[in-house]
Structure formats: structure tokens, C-alpha cells
């Protein structure tokens, strides 16, 4: 028997050796082996053979890892792009639909991506973003049995946190609410938003100090200004060490200037920070509150120690009230199980709404909603690409056949078509960059943000590259596999499977497109209907020509009567009144009231509003029972109240006029008692979507917060305002005349919903536009394909109408199917959306009917152009063309 070398190593050699060298080296091995067999015998020869094989295992002889390829493939890819480009330029209309549709979709997706990025990076300007938190107090609401609470804290909480829980917190800072103040320097006055905070504030917020330092606020009469405010107030002068006045009551020395906080931050509105002791001078009643566990009126910010988690801190401080409130007082509130917790900065913006004491929802809903809507719009554009590519596959079928005959493999053809879709997406991307820059301003106005295109950011381009690839795959994968699966023999013979089933996936995709579009349209209509419904809600007073002036200067107090007379005498004004707070806002809800027949379980919380006797007449409220306050009846100032209808209902009184209303403190001790003299129609002060809160109006001395001025109906606002300003400047020259129109203030309550409505309007318009573009492409393709058939039909006697009907019918059916799918789905969605509004519209049937009808009409319009063109064509021409 002939000896052969060890099989395993022989095979190993044949496996690893480069095919170019395999044969002759193998020959060498065999020849040497034969000779050694004679000299050394089988075992020796085998051993040497193994050594030889192992020593041959070296670079240069081993085949390359990626398989044996001796071709330069760049030429192939070049030809892919060339063929793809030629296809694009040959069919300009289709290319326009493809690229344009995709560019629209990508623009929307990118805008939304930028918006989401902006939302998610909210507050990240602060270096200690992860460790800043705000203290929140809560307890069990006896009526709902759910946990309720807020950021308003009792004054001693801050000191308690600092003294007893220092192991969790690096900083504990008392702060006031972020509100408007009047700053004045010399005789210039500016209404600006600011924050009074403990001296450590700038350090906690890691403000970028342009001058001064983090210690600047340690001087109790200092203030630090944002760069822009410093510029407005002092121009180009160095503001440091200049003195200014706050609300014309206290003086403060500018100790520093910090870089403006960018817009997407909670503190972006704050244009100056002032130290906490200064607030005590500004609002003397804040003094001596160190043992006041009754009033909830300050904010407390904390910075956690680096290794302390929010959960640890919350567990640690949970029982702060139980452990530190004086026991006899704690007994009265113990049943509420009051507690405190810290709410981290990361949840302030996106999870601003609390559910059972936890930040649960808020703008994050919109992040999801818009994210999904954007993805869908992009999907619609991708569907266009898929449909047009597969529908027009016949044009490419011959090419596929020839390529396959010449030896192309399926995989290579898939690559070819993918590279074509990549090219289209790339074109669309650059077009969408153009759109982005063009519509950037409009978009920013719409979403009320200042988002810049991060064109210089390498991450943006990285994300964009990923986005292009994903879109190219989404759009190109199915067509690529579909087109490359043709059988060359059949295709080259001219038999292409155009049976009716080939169009099924295409029809399904059209149905998806129109379902999404119809859902979006219905959603938009419902949002607008809800906004309109709330707008048309009777507000209980007349907003037109009513202005509110904030009386935030001490000089007003003694001059109110002079001012009133002066205004009335100016002739520009038909009514003047004052009250504690604005009509468009609820400032003060208090409890602890009782009346005859009160349900003892009722918490009895009421909005309290102190007004001057002219208030009702000036704002134009409507008395439904009893009478208005009268300045002539002395008793009104001390013993009369007016309630609203909601309060009457709340108290369960059918005839409230003449009833007695009593205030008691938390221990049940009598405070005061007043008689109800009138009932007014409900006034919408808070959200127009919520029921009106039970309210009591007093005729009282505290009615000095806001002045309400009714402009004279015969005089235009442009004429009246300068005259009013002249009166103000004459009577109280120190104060800033800062007015607001009540109707504008009221309209701002709709901002959020209107924005959603506009955005969803834009989304649905784009969705419809993109879907119709695709439809247009499909119809023109079908019409072109059936040119001959239509010609013959016409020759045989079909009317134009019959042909139009024939071409349109299929598409109309698809749209009707889509509407049938979309209606129940959108009903379900929108009904849930409306549930969050107490005062809400119903979803009437006409919305669905109108949307479905609209969709069919739009479809018919889209289809008819091509259908009629085909139907009107002279059969002589269509039959002759070959």
C-alpha cells in the first residue's frame, strides 16, 4: 500500500494555504515526503511533514482572512452609483417625489430630534445638575386620600434641614419665588424677574461670574445682575459697586455680574439674584418666622453631598415634621401624615406633575408624543420610496435579469439597490439641511425655544450619519430584496409577475400611510375643538379694554384715592378698582371656614379675594342674587361678603343671600363672621379647563395689590394708555407704570394647547402631503402601465368617466379602509386625552365624517389629474406608441 502523509495536517495545509500557491507547494511537500519515506521511514517522514506544514504557516502563504478576492471593487460601486444616478435623472418626476418626500420626512424627524435633545438637556447648564434638588412637602389629603403637597415650605424647615440633616446636604438654601420686581437706578425703572436666595445660591447654580465671586451675595445688601440686565441698566459703565433700588423700598449694591443663564433652564428667567436677608427688609412680615410651622411660603433648595442619593436623602428626612414640630402642634396635623422629600433637578422640567407625591408626568408626555409623530412622518416618506420602487420594478427587471445572467449574485444586487437608496437618502438629507436652515426661525417661534443647528458639533454629524443609514435601510431594504429576487429566465422572456397579489404589500403600505394621516387629522381637529370650546367658555366678566397694573411700589399706598380720581377725570377711563390679586390668577386659597349646615368632613377651602367696592362694576361681573358692595354702606367693609356660584353650590345653599359665613382657626376658635350679601356668576381666574374654584370676595383694606382699569369704550387703547400713564407719572413718579391687558393674560392660558394644536396641524398636513405625493406617483405609474388597455377600452367605447372611475376606484377603497381603521383608534386616543380636562368638549361624529370625507376628496383630487390625463388621451396615439 502506498503511504500518504498525515491526513489532518495535509487538509490543514490545503485549508490555510493561499490558492495561488497551494498546488505547487503541495507538490513540493509530496516530493520531499516521498524521498523521506525511503530514507527515514513512515514515522520520520510524517514527523518532518508535520514540521514542514507548520513552518509553512506564515504570512505570504496563508490565504487572506476575508476570502480570496483578487478584484478591485471600487469600479463596481462606481457603476452602482452611476446607474442609480442615471435612473434618478431619467425619471425626474419619480425622483422628485422620492427625494422631496424623504427630505420633508427627514426635516420633520430632525427638527423633532433637536427639540427632544433640547428638552432632555434642560437645566444641564448647571455643573451640579445631578445633585441639586428642591424640597417638597406633602401629606394625605383627607378628601381624596391621595398624597398632595407642594414646594411651599414652612420657614423653620430650612434651618432644621441644615442643623439636623447635614449629613445629606452640602448646601441648604432658603429662596423666594421667582417673581417680578421693579429695579430702579436714578429715575430709570425696570420690571425684571429675580430670585432672592441664600448667599450660597451662585455657587449651587455654578453661575459663570464675569465679575465678583461666589461670595458676592454674603453682603446682605448686595445684588448680582445678569450680563444683559447690567447692560440695560448701566450701559457700558462698570456696574460693580453701583447702587440700585428694589421695588423702591430697599437699596442694594451691585456686587457682581454673571453670564446670562441660557434659555433652556429653570433659572433662565432670573435676571438678578439678591441675598435672602434683603428679602426680609423688602417684606418685613417674613421676619420672626423661625417657629412658625403654620405658614407655607418659602422655597428651599438643597445640594446633596456627592455620595448621597436622592433616595437616601428622602428616607432620611421623611419624618422631619414628626421629629421636629412642637408636639402639641404636631397633634393637630398628625392625621395627614405630613412628610418632606427632595425633588431632583432632573425631574423639575419633564416630570413637573405629581401623582400621589411623586413626580410622575409632565412634558415627558410631549417628548414621547412628538417623538412618535416624527417617526411616523418619516415612516410615511419611507413608504413612498418602497412603493414607488417596487411598483416600477418592471423597469429594472431587465437590468436585474442581465446582471444575474452575467453572474451577479443576489447579495450583490441587494447591495446595488441599497446603495441606490443610500444615494437618494443622502440627497434628501442635504435637501433637508436646506429646509432646516430655512424653517429654523419659524420652528423656534412655534415651539417657543431657541434651538440652533449644531452644524459645528461632530456628534451632530455622527448622529446624522447614523440617521441616514437607518433611513436608507428602512426605505431600501424591502425594495432591494424584492428587485433582486427576480428569476432571470422569466424576466428576460418578458414575464414579470404582475398578478394581483404582487400589489398587496403596496396596498397595505398605502393603507398604513392614510391611517396615520387620518389619525393625525382627527387628533388635530379634536385639539382645536377643545381649545375653541374653552375659549368660548363664559368667563364671568368682560376682558376687553380691561388693564391690570401691579401696585408694587410703597408710594401707591397713600395715593390710591388721588390716583383713582385722577384717572376718572382724565376721560380715558370708565372705571377704576383695586384688589389684592389679579383676576387672571388665583393667589390665595385658605381653609378653616364654617357655615350653617356644613358637612363636618368638608375641608372648606376657598379662594379669598379682597376687593374695592368698584371692583365688580369695573371688571363687569354679573350679580345673580343679592347686591354688589356699596361704598355707602359702612357695614360692608367689615361684615359683608360676596360669593360665586361655585361657592354656593359647594356649601349646598339654594338661597345663600343673608346666610352667615364664619372663619375659625385650626383649633376651632372663632375668628370672624360675615353675612353673604350677594352671589356672582363664576369668574374663570385659573385654568379655563378646570371648574371654577369656590371664591369669596371681601370688601377689604388689603385690596392694594393690583389696580384694574376699564378703558373708556369710546377711546382707542392707543390713545387712552398715554393719558393713563401721564396720570400715573404725575401722582406716583417713583413707580414703574407696568400694565397688562386682561385679555392677553387670559389668552396665555391657551398657549400650551394652541402650540400642540399647531404642531399636530403641521404634522398632519405633512403626513397628508407626503401620502398624497406617494399616491400621485403610484397613480401615474398605473396609468402609464395601462396606457394600451385604456386605448383599447376607448376604442371599444368606454367613456372618459368610466376610465376615470376605473383608475380611481382602487385608491378610494384603500382610503376608505384606512379611515375605517383610523376612526376607532383615534377615538380611543383622543377620548383619553380629553379626560385630563375637567371642562372638555365632546368628540362629535362630524369630526370623523368630515375627516373621512376630506381624505376621500383629497385622494380623488390627487388621483384625478393623472386618471383624467390617461382617460383623455387619444387612443390612436397610445396604441401606436411602441
Amino acid at each position: 500500500m502506498k503511504h500518504s502523509p498525515p491526513g489532518f495536517f495535509h487538509r490543514f495545509f490545503r485549508w490555510y494555504c493561499h490558492p495561488k500557491h497551494r498546488d505547487y507547494i503541495e507538490g513540493d511537500l509530496m516530493e520531499v515526503y516521498e524521498k523521506r519515506l525511503e530514507r527515514l521511514g513512515k514515522r520520520g517522514a510524517d514527523r518532518k511533514f508535520i514540521i514542514d506544514v507548520l513552518l509553512l504557516f506564515r504570512p505570504g502563504i496563508i490565504k487572506p482572512f476575508r476570502g480570496y478576492k483578487n478584484l478591485n471593487t471600487s469600479g463596481m460601486y462606481k457603476s452602482y452609483f452611476k446607474v442609480g444616478w442615471r435612473n434618478l435623472t431619467r425619471h425626474k418626476a419619480f425622483s422628485f417625489i422620492n427625494v422631496g418626500g424623504l427630505a420633508l420626512g427627514m426635516t420633520v424627524a430632525m427638527f423633532i430630534g433637536l427639540w427632544i435633545y433640547d428638552e432632555l438637556s434642560f437645566d444641564k447648564y448647571h455643573q451640579h445638575y445631578d445633585r441639586i434638588a428642591k424640597v417638597w412637602q406633602g401629606g394625605i389629603d383627607q378628601q381624596t386620600h391621595a398624597i398632595d403637597g407642594g414646594y411651599g415650605l414652612q420657614y423653620p424647615v430650612g434651618a432644621t434641614l441644615k442643623n439636623h440633616y447635614g449629613q445629606y446636604f452640602e448646601q441648604v438654601l432658603m429662596a423666594w419665588w421667582i417673581t417680578d420686581f421693579t429695579l430702579s437706578v436714578d429715575d430709570k425703572k425696570f420690571a425684571r424677574t429675580g430670585e432672592f436666595i441664600d448667599a450660597g445660591g451662585p455657587e449651587m447654580l455654578s453661575l459663570k461670574m464675569l465679575s465678583g465671586s461666589y461670595r458676592s451675595l454674603y453682603d446682605p445688601q448686595s445684588i448680582i445682575l445678569s450680563k444683559s440686565l447690567a447692560k440695560t441698566m448701566f450701559g457700558d459703565d462698570d456696574p460693580v459697586n453701583k447702587t440700585l433700588r428694589i421695588d423702591n423700598k430697599v437699596e442694594a449694591k451691585v456686587a457682581g455680574v454673571y453670564e446670562d443663564i441660557p434659555p433652556n433652564n429653570t433659572f433662565s428667567k432670573v435676571q438678578f439674584f439678591a441675598p435672602w436677608p434683603l428679602l426680609k427688609m423688602l417684606q418685613p412680615w417674613v421676619n420672626n418666622r423661625d417657629d412658625d410651622w403654620d405658614n407655607h411660603f418659602v422655597n428651599t433648595y438643597v445640594r446633596l453631598r456627592p455620595n448621597v442619593t436622592v433616595e437616601e436623602a428622602n428616607a432620611g428626612i421623611h419624618n422631619l415634621y414628626a421629629d421636629h414640630i412642637p408636639p402639641d402642634y404636631y397633634k393637630t396635623i398628625a392625621s395627614d401624615e405630613p412628610f418632606v422629600q427632595v425633588v431632583p433637578m432632573s425631574t423639575w422640567h419633564l416630570y413637573s406633575e405629581f401623582s400621589n407625591g411623586h413626580p410622575a408626568t409632565g412634558r415627558i408626555v410631549f417628548v414621547w408624543l412628538f417623538g412618535i409623530a416624527g417617526a411616523f412622518v418619516l415612516l410615511l416618506a419611507c413608504i413612498n420610496f418602497v412603493n414607488l420602487s417596487t411598483a416600477r420594478s418592471e423597469r429594472r427587471a431587465r437590468e436585474v435579469g442581465v446582471r444575474k445572467t452575467m453572474g451577479s449574485m443576489n447579495g450583490q444586487l441587494v447591495m446595488q439597490f441599497l446603495s441606490e437608496s443610500f444615494m437618494v437618502v443622502l440627497l434628501a438629507f442635504f435637501l433637508s439641511l436646506v429646509f432646516l436652515t430655512l424653517f429654523q426661525q419659524a420652528f423656534n417661534d412655534l415651539v417657543d425655544k431657541r434651538i440652533a443647528l449644531p452644524l459645528g458639533n461632530p456628534w451632530f454629524w455622527l448622529m446624522a450619519a447614523g440617521f441616514i443609514l437607518v433611513t436608507a435601510f428602512m426605505a431600501g431594504l424591502y425594495p432591494a430584496f424584492y428587485l433582486s429576487s427576480f428569476k432571470p429566465v422569466k424576466v428576460l422572456k418578458g414575464v414579470i409577475h404582475t398578478d394581483q397579489f404582487a400589489a398587496v404589500p403596496r396596498k397595505a403600505l398605502v393603507v398604513i400611510q392614510f391611517t396615520v394621516s387620518v389619525v393625525l387629522i382627527i387628533g388635530t381637529l379634536v385639539v382645536f375643538k377643545q381649545v375653541q370650546f374653552a375659549r368660548n367658555r363664559p368667563v364671568g366678566y368682560s376682558r376687553q379694554g380691561l388693564i391690570e397694573v401691579s401696585l408694587n411700589d410703597p408710594a401707591y399706598a397713600s395715593k390710591l384715592d388721588v390716583l383713582k380720581t385722577g384717572l376718572l377725570n382724565s376721560g380715558a377711563v370708565s372705571g377704576v378698582a383695586t384688589s389684592f390679586s389679579a383676576v387672571t390668577r388665583i393667589n390665595n386659597i385658605t381653609g378653616g371656614y364654617t357655615w350653617q349646615g356644613k358637612d363636618p368632613d368638608l375641608d372648606a377651602q376657598f379662594v379669598n379675594c379682597e376687593v374695592s367696592p368698584e371692583f365688580g362694576k369695573t371688571i363687569g361681573w354679573e350679580i345673580v342674587a343679592g347686591r354688589d358692595f356699596s361704598p355707602d354702606i359702612a357695614a360692608d367693609t367689615i361684615s359683608s361678603i360676596i360669593i360665586n356660584e361655585a361657592a354656593a353650590k359647594y356649601m349646598g345653599m339654594t338661597d345663600p343671600v343673608g346666610q352667615t359665613f364664619t372663619d375659625v382657626d385650626e383649633f376651632g376658635n372663632f375668628q370672624w363672621s360675615k353675612t353673604i350679601i350677594g352671589v356672582v356668576r363664576d369668574i374663570v381666574m385659573a385654568s379655563p379647563y378646570e371648574p371654577v374654584y369656590q371664591t369669596i370676595f371681601h370688601y377689604g383694606g388689603n385690596a392694594r395689590g393690583v389696580m384694574h382699569i376699564r378703558l373708556h369704550p369710546a377711546i382707542s387703547a392707543g390713545e387712552a394708555l398715554p393719558r393713563i400713564k401721564a396720570v400715573f407719572d404725575g401722582v406716583v413718579p417713583s413707580a414703574l407704570f407696568d400694565y397688562k391687558f386682561a385679555d392677553e393674560e387670559y389668552a396665555m392660558k391657551f398657549g400650551q394647547e394652541e402650540r400642540i394644536g399647531k404642531l399636530s396641524g403641521i404634522f398632519s398636513t405633512l403626513a397628508v402631503l407626503i401620502s398624497c405625493l406617494g399616491l400621485f406617483g403610484l397613480v401615474s405609474y398605473v396609468a402609464e402601465q395601462r396606457t394600451k388597455e385604456i386605448g383599447i377600452r376607448k376604442v371599444v367605447g368606454a367613456s372618459v368617466f368610466a376610465i376615470w372611475k376605473m383608475l380611481s376606484k382602487d385608491f378610494v377603497i384603500l382610503v376608505i379602509v384606512s379611515s375605517a381603521l383610523a376612526i376607532p383608534f383615534s377615538y380611543f386616543l383622543m377620548e383619553r386625552w380629553l379626560l385630563k380636562y375637567e371642562y372638555r368638549t365632546d368628540i362629535s361624529w362630524w369630526i370623523f365624517a368630515a375627516t373621512a370625507a376630506g381624505a376621500v376628496i383629497i385622494t380623488l383630487l390627487t388621483v384625478s389629474y393623472q386618471a383624467l390625463k390617461a382617460a383623455l388621451m387619444n387612443p390612436v396615439q397610445s396604441l401606436r406608441s411602441e
Partner: protein, 114 residues
């Protein structure tokens, strides 16, 4: 040195090829080196050297006949090209130049005989 790069083993191989003159293929080269220089040569090292020489253009190759003892595999014959001959001459010249430059004393001092 850039123009004619020739490694030590490559030089041995190309010189042996010149010695053999005909029937120049891997096995004969291997046998010749092993018998003349008393050093073992693995096929792996030899083939790598041959491939390198071919890449550099010093030798060219052509396929020869397939014999039974080679299990039907062809031989790959090699031939020195003109460039190869130049490289050999260059290599020899540089060595000689260096040899001639060595002072006699130095040779004596370090030589094995001293």
C-alpha cells in the same frame, strides 16, 4: 542600498539558483543549500523567500510538468532575471568594497588565528 535590497537568506537562495543553473525549483534549491552549506532549510522559509524575490522582480517563475511522485501537482520553476543578476553583482560589489576597506591590522587582531 535602496535600489537592490537582498536579505541574507534571499542572497543564499538566489546564489544557489545561479549555481544550479537548470532544474531550478524549490526542492532542488533546498537540497543544494542543505548539502553545500550544511544548514536545514524548511519549505516554509524557502517559499517565503522565493515569493519575496519574485515580488522584488529578481526572479521569475513558470509552471512545469506534473509528476506522479508529486501527486500530480505541477513544479514551479524559477529563473533569475536581469534585475536579479544586477542585484547579485551589487551585493557582491558592496561586500568587496567593505572587505577591501578593512585595515590589515584589524583583520589580524580579531582573526581566529591570532
Amino acid at each position: 542600498m535602496k535600489r537592490y535590497q537582498l536579505g541574507e537568506f534571499e542572497e543564499v537562495v538566489i546564489l544557489t539558483m545561479a549555481v544550479l543553473n537548470n532544474e531550478v525549483y524549490s526542492v532542488t534549491i533546498k537540497n543544494e543549500i542543505e548539502s553545500r552549506l550544511a544548514r536545514t532549510v524548511s519549505l516554509g522559509a524557502l517559499h517565503t523567500a522565493l515569493l519575496r524575490l519574485e515580488e522584488k522582480g529578481y526572479v521569475r517563475s513558470f509552471y512545469g510538468e506534473a509528476t506522479r511522485e508529486r501527486a500530480g501537482r505541477p513544479k514551479k520553476y524559477f529563473q533569475i532575471t536581469a534585475l536579479g543578476k544586477k542585484a547579485m553583482a551589487y551585493s557582491k560589489a558592496t561586500r568587496e568594497e567593505l572587505w577591501n576597506a578593512i585595515p590589515k591590522v584589524a583583520l589580524k587582531l580579531s582573526g581566529p588565528t591570532s
